[in-house]
């Protein structure tokens, strides 16, 4: 019985991800192109929002991945703290800029959507504010990675920061709820709710979300491979200088 921890071996990780990466990447492209084309050109316009509703196909998946990327970093950090697999720490490091980019996409598309709908680019709404705070957390996390020279020290410190940051990010999420009333609508993609978006929008949206997830996985694999190889190169160079 093969254990999942086998893939913590960098060599094994690169071999396995190399095998899957092309398929995941192609699937991501297909799902993204398919979902976006379907969403943009083959769905009706909303009777109140007109064609601006179509920004949902970028906004919602990006926002979803922004949070899930942090969640993935949290899990990877925990794995690093508990089992000290280097691949795990590098995966967390690789995911951070992607998550930050997703956060920016969500914020920017939200602003572009908010302008015609709410009449403002930005409001200090709880959801918007907590996304901005999440972005600050991403920035701090990446800055800490960049600031420390020793790899293991950096991995340790950033993973603790990720844990503490997660607690405070959740706290902030609920604190801003308390602090201001919202303009943003509630969740409209729950599994069991009546007020979900209508099916015509729902299915292309699901395809787009799948595309974003696949894209995220592909990028994390790729970036983790890059990190592993960069570290190997550094080790080789250091050895050559010695020898």
């Amino acid at each position: 019985m093969a254990s999942i921890w086998e893939y913590a071996n960098p060599k094994k990780f690169i071999e396995t991800t190399d095998r899957f990466l092309p398929f995941i990447a192609i699937a991501a492209v297909v799902a993204l192109v398919g979902g976006l084309v379907w969403g943009f050109f083959f769905t009706p316009e909303d009777y109140r929002q007109g064609s601006t509703v179509k920004i949902i196909y970028l906004h919602v998946p990006a926002a979803l991945m922004a949070i899930n990327a942090w969640l993935m970093m949290l899990v990877a950090s925990l794995v690093w703290i508990v089992r000290r697999h280097h691949v795990s720490a590098l995966a967390a490091r690789a995911a951070a800029p992607i998550g930050a980019t997703m956060t920016v996409i969500a914020l920017v598309t939200g602003a572009i959507w908010g302008q015609p709908m709410w009449g403002t680019w930005w409001a200090w709404d709880p959801r918007l504010t907590s996304f901005l705070i999440l972005f600050l957390f991403y920035l701090g996390y990446m800055a800490l990675w960049a600031a420390i020279e020793n790899d293991d020290t950096a991995a340790d410190l950033t993973s603790v920061l990720c844990l503490v940051g997660s607690v405070f990010a959740v706290l902030s999420r609920y604190a801003v709820n308390f602090w201001n009333q919202g303009l943003h609508q509630g969740a409209s993609l729950s599994m069991d709710k009546e007020e979900n978006v209508a099916d015509v929008f729902y299915y292309p949206l699901l395809v787009c979300i799948a595309g974003f997830i696949l894209l995220f996985v592909a990028l994390v694999f790729l970036r983790t491979q890059t990190e592993i190889r960069a570290r190997r190169t550094r080790a080789l160079l250091a050895r050559e200088r010695l020898g």
């Binding site: 340790d156 503490v164 902030s172």
Partner: protein, 218 residues
């Protein structure tokens, strides 16, 4: 532990810089605000709770990198780490010393500065109460940030980037208590939340700070 606390206090008071600096910074921020927004009393009274909270927070931030930096440079942090006192107690004492030398003077100075910003009379009690409850959390969270960045040269800016997002919940509830108090509203709910955050931070964060300090001293 008591010896450590008194040593830190004595250093902070006698070495100069750290002790008075935060207070002076707080004063300057508060003095600068009317220049920025204009001297009307009504406007100042409305924003006074928020300004005072923000000023206290920034003054607190200013002195954070001194918590470990000096001890790190002259090596006494290594000695302290090898002493029989557990690391968690060490960082708790450091946070307590920081609060006593920075947070407490800020709390005591706030009423005077509230006067400058024409804070309504009923606002003083809640403001001082919220700061007294909230600044310990600022010190403890800041100690965590300081422990994270202790090994980094010129880590001051990074420290702010790391610590400020962590300050958000404390600031929200603290400023909310002060604002509601100044407007004569009920403020027990945010006060309870603020106390909860402070208690939680004091209880849990020293473990995280100790863990990262151990990594940094490795």
């Amino acid at each position: 532990m008591i010896a450590l606390l008194t040593r830190d206090m004595r250093l902070a008071v006698r070495a100069g810089g750290g002790f008075g600096l935060g207070l002076a910074f707080f004063l300057i921020v508060v003095v600068l605000v009317p220049f920025g927004v204009g001297p009307e009393n009504a406007l100042l009274a409305r924003i006074a709770p928020g300004i005072l909270w923000l000023g206290a927070l920034l003054a607190c931030l200013l002195s954070l990198d001194r918590i470990f930096a000096l001890d790190w440079e002259d090596g006494s942090l290594d000695l302290l780490a090898t002493s029989p006192v557990p690391m968690e107690a060490l960082v708790s004492m450091k946070a307590l010393a920081h609060w006593l030398t920075t947070g407490l003077p800020l709390v005591l100075a706030t009423p005077v500065l509230g006067l400058l910003l024409s804070l309504p009379v009923q606002g003083y009690g809640p403001l001082v109460l919220s700061l007294a409850l909230g600044t310990p959390a600022l010190s403890v969270i800041g100690t965590f940030g300081a422990a994270l960045t202790v090994g980094i040269k010129r880590g001051g800016l990074l420290l702010s980037l790391l610590v400020l997002p962590l300050y958000v919940p404390t600031l929200i509830f603290g400023a909310e208590v002060a604002r509601r108090g100044a407007e004569g509203l009920e403020y027990t709910a945010p006060l309870a939340m603020l106390a909860g955050i402070t208690c939680g931070a004091i209880a849990l964060l020293p473990f995280a700070s100790a863990a990262v300090l151990r990594v940094n001293l490795r």
